[in-house]
Subunit: 390 residues, 2 copies
């Protein structure tokens, strides 16, 4: 096992009916809060009213910062930073999905720095501290509620950049599964694909000869997420299934499943970003295309790990003629069953532009630190998701 | 899933060669440290020299508190508290096994309180704060390196009591698997049995209808610990196997595997404590006797969970005539294989004193909050570990 440091101080308040305590939790960090959210969804869910009431009951003054976009943009984050500085904000409360929390993180860092927010993403400035952040999650997928990651888009340069820094960990995150009942089936499928991808990228890439505790962690949580996804597809308001998905998303990307592995890169994320960027498909939809394609390309190199996944996650039988092939096929079938595409054509992309895709992936290879993929490798992987080559 | 709060702020520095950084980590919390340890083992391992050198290099003044016993005693903890108060200690550094860290926790709490340390265990006083604690773990088993628990024995009253409190979480814990190479086989077997017990108690007791993510977490980590134990029994200085056991012990009792389950009691721990108390056997040895006995007693009530364990952890075949029986037998065989007893007689107890055992277990039932066991139930479970009844 590789040496590692694990430090995740975020407090999780999990379950239903806990939102009133957000007032007391926030009060520990100050008297004046910036309330960050998107548009109407938290009002429809009743989250807005409950959070505002709880904060007011705790004597906290609220400054609103609404209008976070689904892909949060830099200009809006900068506005939030200005509000914090002009209004002497003590603490940030973010209610919404991953985008809202990510923008809130960038504001939290910018508010206590003289640097421009974008300089953190460009690695020109280090985040040494940030305003305390309290979150209410309404859309489980990215794990941002319990990690130090954020992604923001600079509209001027069209760059979508990510950054990870310890001070960005939320102080407290409220996870109420009943808030996720109304997430549509396709969005749920894409979110579950994303959380599974967070775990399998390291798992399949691992060069560890022996790491059964980390392997077991990953296998167990993926198995749980898959079972829960199946159940939610039948019954969207199944509390326990929604709860397992929500907690599974957090455990998938809070650092545990990524620690101890040698060379745990994220090539499928690298290959996916150009897809969702160029074709405007969901990130999860791109991942359900790229993961099987990548597995086919790497089959012989990582055969023993694919087979282990087949046995321990999918429950496949040793006696299969080619257990690795059977595993990839079973995973593809599961993606199709929950309604997320496996091929370009299933995603409505009849003629993929390989040059445009590989050009972006080449840039990301460096930016995301994924070594070992030539342009030709990337193209071949993309081609394995194209029905014309099947 | 049950509502829960999860908050574990301990920073883990995992791997080999990291000990020199303990100076810088400690310096963040003060200039004067109480160094808590047992007897010779950390000197033999070279830990003592490395820690002292690192602390001195960081300009930290050291006050020594050696001589922690394998079951830490109250009088020695009180001495430590006095040293902290008399020497204006800022931070505690504990190097050793669970006992050393547990006593250090009690000292950390006592040092900043006017109350006597024992009053925390008697629930007469609440721990509101504690001195910061940095640990170097040399014996993975109890998970104390990443939780808020401690156990101390009051020699005057012969009471061994536990207490859990959030401020007792270590600030930083150093986990170096290479320090555990010299742990003897039997001690390793008992330690691994203990960490597995921390996970299976909730798993088998869970009344959740659907919690596959938590189930998967538990199953995956136990599978990893079992594989690693098998390997260590063959090769005690296998770094990766020791590393997986060390990280597995931490993940087994850091709170994640215990969250979200309804009614996750610890009856096997309740039944074990009198065993190791009266017969002076290892805690892990008592657990490898009590877990199969308890499973036999509860077989029909928790059959579906025993079968799930058989399939997902032990890899047993569905086609077994009675999968629950086969699971219990396979677990017993595994315990025997690693060298920890399954029956009273295997532990050298020819004539168990059922009255004495049940009397103590009755007391613990209340103290440990394990409801639903009559004296008769307890006796029957104990009898299922007695070869005379097989």
């Amino acid at each position: 096992m590789e040496n590692f440091t694990f430090h995740n101080p975020t407090k999780i308040v999990f379950g239903t009916g806990n939102l009133p305590s957000i007032g007391e939790e926030t009060k520990l960090y100050g008297k004046k809060a910036l309330l960050v959210y998107g548009k109407q969804s938290i009002k429809k869910l009743g989250v807005y009213d409950r959070v505002v009431e709880a904060l007011q009951n705790a004597g906290i003054e609220i400054v609103e910062h609404a209008g976070v976009k689904p892909n949060p943009v830099l200009s809006h984050a900068r506005e939030g930073v200005d509000k914090c500085k002009n209004s002497n904000i003590d603490v940030i409360v973010a209610a919404g999905g991953g985008s809202v929390i990510d923008e809130a993180k960038s504001i939290a860092a910018g508010a206590v720095s003289d640097a421009d927010v974008w300089d953190f993403f460009l690695q020109k400035e280090t985040i040494k501290k940030a305003l305390p952040l309290i979150t209410v999650l309404t859309m489980p997928a990215t794990g941002t509620e319990m990690n130090g990651s954020m992604v923001v888009t600079n509209e001027d340069t069209q760059e979508k950049m990510g950054h990870v820094s310890h001070p960005l960990h939320p102080k407290v995150s409220f996870l109420d599964p009943s808030l996720t009942y109304s997430i549509p089936k396709d969005t749920t499928a894409h979110a579950c694909t994303d959380m599974i991808a967070h775990l399998v990228e390291g798992y399949f890439n691992s060069m560890e000869e022996f790491a059964p505790v980390v392997d077991g962690y990953i296998e167990g949580i993926i198995r749980g997420i898959m079972k829960s996804t199946d159940r939610v597809m039948e019954k969207p308001d199944d509390y326990d299934a929604r709860a397992n998905i929500m907690w599974g998303a957090t455990l998938a990307w809070n650092g545990i499943g990524q620690r101890g592995f040698k060379g745990a890169y994220i090539p499928c994320h690298m290959l996916e970003h150009p897809l969702s960027g160029i074709y405007d498909i969901a990130h999860g939809a791109g991942l359900s295309m790229m993961i099987p394609a990548w597995l086919k390309y790497k089959k012989e190199a990582v055969r023993h790990r694919i087979e282990m996944f087949g046995r321990n996650v999918l429950g496949l039988d040793e006696s299969k003629t080619d257990l690795a092939d059977a595993t990839i096929e079973a995973l593809e079938n599961w993606y199709r069953k929950i309604g997320t595409p496996v091929t370009f054509q299933e995603a409505g992309i009849e003629e993929p532009d390989y040059d445009a895709l590989t050009k972006q992936a080449e840039f990301l290879s460096d930016y995301m630190g994924v070594p070992g993929y030539t342009t030709e490798d990337m193209k071949k992987i993309y081609q394995l998701a194209d029905e014309k080559n099947m």
